[in-house]
Amino acid sequence: MAGPNPHDFLDLSALLNDEERLLRDTVRRFATERISPGIGGWFERAEFPRALVPEIGALGLLGMHLQGYGCAGAGAVSYGLVCLELEAADSGFRSFVSVQGSLAMFPIRTYGSEEQKERWLPGMAAGEIVGCFGLTEPDFGSDPSRMRTSARREGSDWILNGAKSWITNGGIADVAVVWARTDDGVRGFLVPRGTSGFSTRDIHNKLSLRASVTSELIFDDCRLPAGAMLPGVSGLKGPLSCLSEARYGIIWGAMGAARACYECALEYSKTREQFDKPIAAFQMTQQKLVDMMIEIQKGTLLAIHLGRLKEAGRLSPQQVSFGKLNNVRHALSIAREARTILGANGITLEYPVIRHMNNLESVLTYEGTSEIHTLLLGQAITGHSAFQ
């Protein structure tokens, strides 16, 4: 009998059921066949291949963890595995699926009116309609409670003013879920593309998440009918609940990016020879590879555990912070370490490593920075808030 599998050392596959494994294998194959061959070029040219969105929709991956309205009602572990396999190809695709499913479809499904759900969700699940989520502003990232974007009543209409920044999918979105201050607290609004007074501007000079559209949303006396407001929630708990959903996916996705870096470094180390032997035979390389492998197995085990808690309805936002903080920072350090094994080759787009490394810089910051997640955990264990 051979020893443990270098790609699944602890046999974590055994913790998944048949459907979860089949889903994982299907998405891995889709990512390998449909995303990986083009990703280097898309990243280099800063393109997001929108044509793939309906294909991802046909696989049933958009809003898959939601119930009804064309969504599949998948378990949390299934959704997580999808995030992991997509991010193993590129964080841009996992970001797309996170934003579409957890940040745009989730609030419509959870807080929307029947009319809003029927209008938007089936097309979004099919990948025909793209959504985005506007909370962050140019001056307010970690502290969204001070947002400036506002909505005021005029008759039964709403007039929206302000700007949102760092919005994934912004420039390609058919509908934006926008959070704005009102006399009645923070409320969510559905703003279709083309609404008068609503424009977007893409952010072009990124060196991270290049195969993903990041934009500003600008609202200049943007008039919306009463039916554009999400009726089901007021206050910051609305957008924060969406973020908790999306962060959950990142816990898994980060391990996908890390796995891609580890596998690349492992293969490279076995074929690259220096001093007449493969660099995999050097103690320092083995130290790096083993550290990577251990952290990926631990992080994946953590993701599965948190997924099972979520399926049982027992996952707290602080536990999500634990997962996001741990898995993203380890993924980033694994990507950097993998780069050192690839030497100079590691800095090119011939290999996935530096692309993942650069992407993970964004992942470390978005959906709650590592600092804020640390402070949330600090508050959870000491009872003292160090930031508000």
Binding site: L22, T26, A58, L59, G60, M64, A72, A74
Partner: protein, 254 residues
Amino acid sequence: MNIIVCVKHIPDPNLPGVMDGFRLKREGVQGVLDPGDEFGVEAGLRLKEELGGEVTLVSMGPAQAQEALRRGLSMGADKAVLISDDSLRGADALVTARVLAAAIKRGAFDLVIAGVESTDGYTGTMPATLAELLGVPQLTFTTAIEVSDGRLRVRRQSADGYQVVECSFPCVMTVTAGVNEPRYASFKGIMAAKKKPFEQLSTSELEVEPDALKPGQEVVEVSLVEQRKAGEVLPDDGQGAVRIATFLKEAKVI
């Protein structure tokens, strides 16, 4: 139209094969739906979508082979039959064809689809044998498929081009890789596959004589393929392109 697709669960061809004596070890190794059979499943699904009816997957193999059937069900096939019996270990292509024929004959069928050959045994004789046992015509090496006026008409790959051949139903058809682009299973398809009819049979439940299940073929030696040698180097003396073209013609690549 009642469409039967023969599928096989094989050890993952991307991993090194493990031998068990003169047989390929099948149990306890990572297995997949034979990649060649994905084209057959896709062909069956497309004909069903065009003409109506249902797609039934039929396979012979160890209990683990249900993974391959489940994959086909999640792509959209309607039901699956697995013939699994310890007595079938080491079955040759003829025994396999007899078992599959007996399973297929239990119901009405219009079309039986199979891959040209399996990606583990590579005998390539099973589908032709199956057609003979079923007493129906066979269209082989298919690269394009259409049904018109109640007849099956296909392009049949040949060494230097293709033939257009047709026959009436019921019949057996083998499909080449490239006849279509197999779809990915969707998440809904994966979930739906759990609830689809799945039948597991032993040989005693089939109308087949026990003697017919004894393989007539014996594997007497197995050896590793020779390591690939370094390629031939042709220095370019100005005739490089011509020599490459000649080489490719000889290899029947162009």
